[in-house]
Symmetry: D2
Subunit: 339 residues, 4 copies
């Protein structure tokens, strides 16, 4: 096979639209079955309960290559229909994937058994079966530098920086379908506890190298702000897609509040869609029952679903969308809390 960049990058990934199919009949059947189908049905019910309960603050945790895989619109629909109030994510999803597409770039259908050395020569990056133009990514890196250059020196939370990324997209974006943009408009705060571990990291390192008076991203400030939101909320529920740092970070806010002397309740609801399992003792696959021993997640309304997110997340989101209980829910606009 001859590798030609243009031919390799000729079919774009498209994002699934949960409004165009109704998963309710499927999920209701799943509820009468067993194994992961029933687990998914229960996760759907829990998420729907969270939406119905007005006092509950809903936190969406994102890890894995979700946007490059076609799940961007799912996240946008959850934001724009007031189903989630806070996002905690890996940096790659927010910057390299979503902001990247907001700048007008695309992800492409690739294939698994590629000759990676040849891809590298062509500056094509591979994620399993997906291709990315590394030259586009470099533009994304530099855009984050430009944003940093425009900011007064000081220590910022990732949330503050991402807010400015949303603002940037509003003025300069080339694709209105971006959850960073939607979150900006809907005042939904986005946190990246490991923000430098992303395309923004490249831009920010460049920024700090060039400028003596520069900005810094203070991960403590992230944790402080998220804990303040937790404290401010009556009840909280978490929807975790994948594990990693976002999962741990959100769970820890309960303990952080406690340490600050505030009596915040455990997360009342918790669901996780994951392929990880508990057997290696790592946090990503640790059960939510285990999190109960830490005083982080309450028992009763927690559910693990073992399955890959491109299969399970659209079904979950379509269910709650078509249930329609979000119609009676007010936007919490939590970014306003920090103004």
């Amino acid at each position: 096979m001859k590798y030609n960049k243009k031919e390799l990058l000729n079919r774009e990934i498209k994002h699934i639209d949960i409004k165009k199919f109704n998963s309710i009949p499927l999920i209701e059947s799943f509820d009468d079955m067993a194994f992961q189908s029933r687990n998914l049905a229960r996760a759907c019910e829990i998420f729907d309960t969270m939406i119905k309960e007005e006092k509950c603050t809903n936190i969406l945790c994102l890890a894995g290559s979700l946007v490059s895989a076609g799940l961007k619109k799912v996240i946008i629909d959850l934001i724009e229909n007031n189903m989630i109030d806070i996002i905690v994510s890996t940096g790659a999803i927010v910057v390299d994937q979503d902001f990247f597409e907001g700048l007008g770039f695309n992800h492409y259908r690739g294939f698994i058994n590629a000759d990676d050395s040849k891809l590298q020569e062509l500056m094509i990056d591979r994620i399993y079966d997906t291709f990315i133009d590394e030259e586009d990514l470099r533009v994304c890196d530099m855009t984050t530098k430009k944003i940093a250059d425009s900011m007064p020196p000081g220590a910022y939370s990732s949330r503050e920086f991402i807010y400015l990324m949303g603002e940037f997209l509003e003025c300069n974006g080339k694709n209105p379908e971006s959850f960073v943009l939607s979150a900006y408009k809907n005042e939904v705060p986005i946190f990246c506890p490991a923000f430098s571990d992303s395309s923004a990291g490249f831009g920010l390192v460049f920024h700090q190298t060039e400028k003596k008076d520069h900005i810094s991203i203070d991960s403590v400030k992230d944790f402080k702000e998220l804990t303040e939101l937790k404290v401010k909320s009556d009840d909280t529920g978490i929807i975790m897609i994948g594990g990693g740092v976002p999962k741990n970070f959100v769970q820890d806010t309960v303990v952080a509040a406690d340490i600050l002397g505030v009596d915040a309740p455990m997360h009342k609801y918790a669901i996780q869609l994951t392929v990880a399992d508990e057997r290696d003792g790592a946090l990503s696959g640790s059960t939510l029952k285990e999190a109960n021993s830490w005083g982080k997640v309450d028992s009763g309304f927690e559910q693990m679903v073992y399955g890959e997110a491109t299969l399970t997340f659209p079904l979950l989101a379509s269910y709650v969308y078509h249930k329609g209980n979000w119609k009676n829910r007010k936007a919490k606009k939590l970014n306003q809390f920090f103004e």
Copy 2:
């Protein structure tokens, strides 16, 4: 079963000593076999090659509950015998587990099917089959606050903060077996790209809440420092235990150097011990061959080993220890670079 805190926390986890058993005969047999045994044998050879090649800077990436599981001494022995030069880790391993034990606390043998609600009442935290006294952890949290309180206000890298944790242990530690302490003494830099996502996060949030003039942890500075070390090195090799942020962060330094206009080579060697797989497209399980497309890891000397780290990491480390090639290797003492 009646839950009594003292009885539940009565048998300490002990750390395996790679010097006390010689895995070379086993690994040499594995090399003639198939599947993961052969993969592990190849990883051993690659690590040993890294140690023999004087110009190669060896970076150890740590993710998962490694120290609570009894792997602390393995890491210490790699540091003290000059087999690794840089550590990139999750915050939990460094603070909640290693520094925690340095303060004199312990992890305990627990069991899987515990009643987590009862554990929570007793302030016992569970990691799969391991128990931790939450009251001890709170002391650890507060100790990081004390360290932060003693520092001049400003933006620090996690490396700088962890260096002070090492200093603290040297003066006030109650257990000399700590890799934070060993790294401090041997000038091995430790980076935690998501530092707040740990026990230190609690202490630091408290610190920032109390003090107007406070410190911050600048994750960009972490990335900048690590990239500088990458640039400064001739060749680099990475030994990854688990995936997560450390894996991504280290790989990204190649690209970061490129963006800064420095022509740093790809990581020449790369091995990963993991239970994750590639099928969900997430970074933790992405193959090192895939990393080659990104221009991060060179092809030729990369090896994935699919197995849980408590089984594979001691065998890997015992092999290189007993091969003895570290005896001719000089300590790089890379922390001195930043002085």
Copy 3:
């Protein structure tokens, strides 16, 4: 929790109906995405191609607890709408689960963290989150004995025995929803290469213990018959749900034909829905690409989908059902070949 048999067995598992929801829009979206969603979309296309190609004999392989999990009707619909021509299955699915339900018994919703010793005292068997009344199972065991007792002594293939089970259900069944019954009526042969490893094994051992002149189940005859069907077919395609013996058995027929001196083509199409992976070298998770080296599966139209069958199988079957290409397909009625 007090364990009361009646209360524990009070909510039946219900079988999902692929005719009641249309997965085509979902699958078409999946085709533009990545990871397992795209893999599933490709599997759907391949299965649909198999149905469109009149000369292709479609073989369904079944492993795992599929019927107890609510997938019985999916199998029935594939049979009754002429989408599959041969079934190769584990014994448990055919006897303990499908025939069992045909006798009027049910599977029940259970839960994971059950006290298994207490369940055992109550004669309740558990499969992950599903309960079965062991007393019902014993009736099923004895029914197979009754069938065996009625047969002239001799060596039978499992196919022949299962045909009589279908006949038994037609006369004595209490629930017409049984794929053993549907296959009987539609002349679809069912093979269980490890037939004694099932509820029928119990009945047959009892039969052989009681009678000097008894029947035997000749697994060679199974292999011979299945190979004859392979030889007789122009092209073949296999849809594998799970791995295990059925996967291997069907693939081997290509080689068996070759050994008998017949030039049968490799399986032209092959899809597998599974949670297993290739890293332990076991057959269940071996890739279909690997099967190509054995000359068993042709390259070009093979697809692995990594996901649990309760999630993926209904979507696959609903897709081909609603595509409607089975309407032009004639029933092959392959059981008639052996008359």
Copy 4:
């Protein structure tokens, strides 16, 4: 890369020798750790207890490509040192791999990313990273036909047939290292509940095609014989490498005994080394705790170890070998029971 058969098949797989390394210090360290290392340590203790308890009949279950991966000698050492009394296996391990090597053939080191179509042209079969000469395999197939041709017509258990395979190797074998041969000499019965699903299946189909008066392999007889051994034993313990049919078959003997009106106890000890997990409800990954609900495995001395067998099985076997408790154990020679 040019594919040349001779070059591709130039380095043989060698079998690990548990006598040449002593895993006791490693396993004792593992016992003080966590996760799978501790689980493996507990499995070692349970197996050692089984060996010490004279009245316990030890059943080894084998699934996966164990012999091709270099684990043949482990099995031989367990047999020849009286540590196991019965083997239940997949057909492929017994015929395609062990008997095959007994005939003087070998497995070869291969590699994963092979061009499988080219391998197929060269008649090289691939198992993950291992190569086999398909022409050698055909000789193996035909040898089983020869054995069948020499037998008086009738219905045989797989155990009876495999016994004759051992006899054949004693007279005609070219490599004395074969567990089929060792089991024959030590009167250890070997059962393959799905015997036709192997190289022998090819030979037997050919045999049945050629001869009107032929033999058959009666899987009911297998089950009956194994149940008789279970009934005859005081206590039983099972060591399962992988899952599949052998796991289920052995567990079922408890129920079979019950159905025959004999009050046989549950399996007192049970350990399983596996990579499967419980989340898909399939038998291979079902927990041994779950098996307790079925009345098959007693609670108290059961242990799952999640890890790949090439890593874990040699450590387990070396531990019990060097513990030396087999020295006081008498061979049960259970094949004599059927004479």
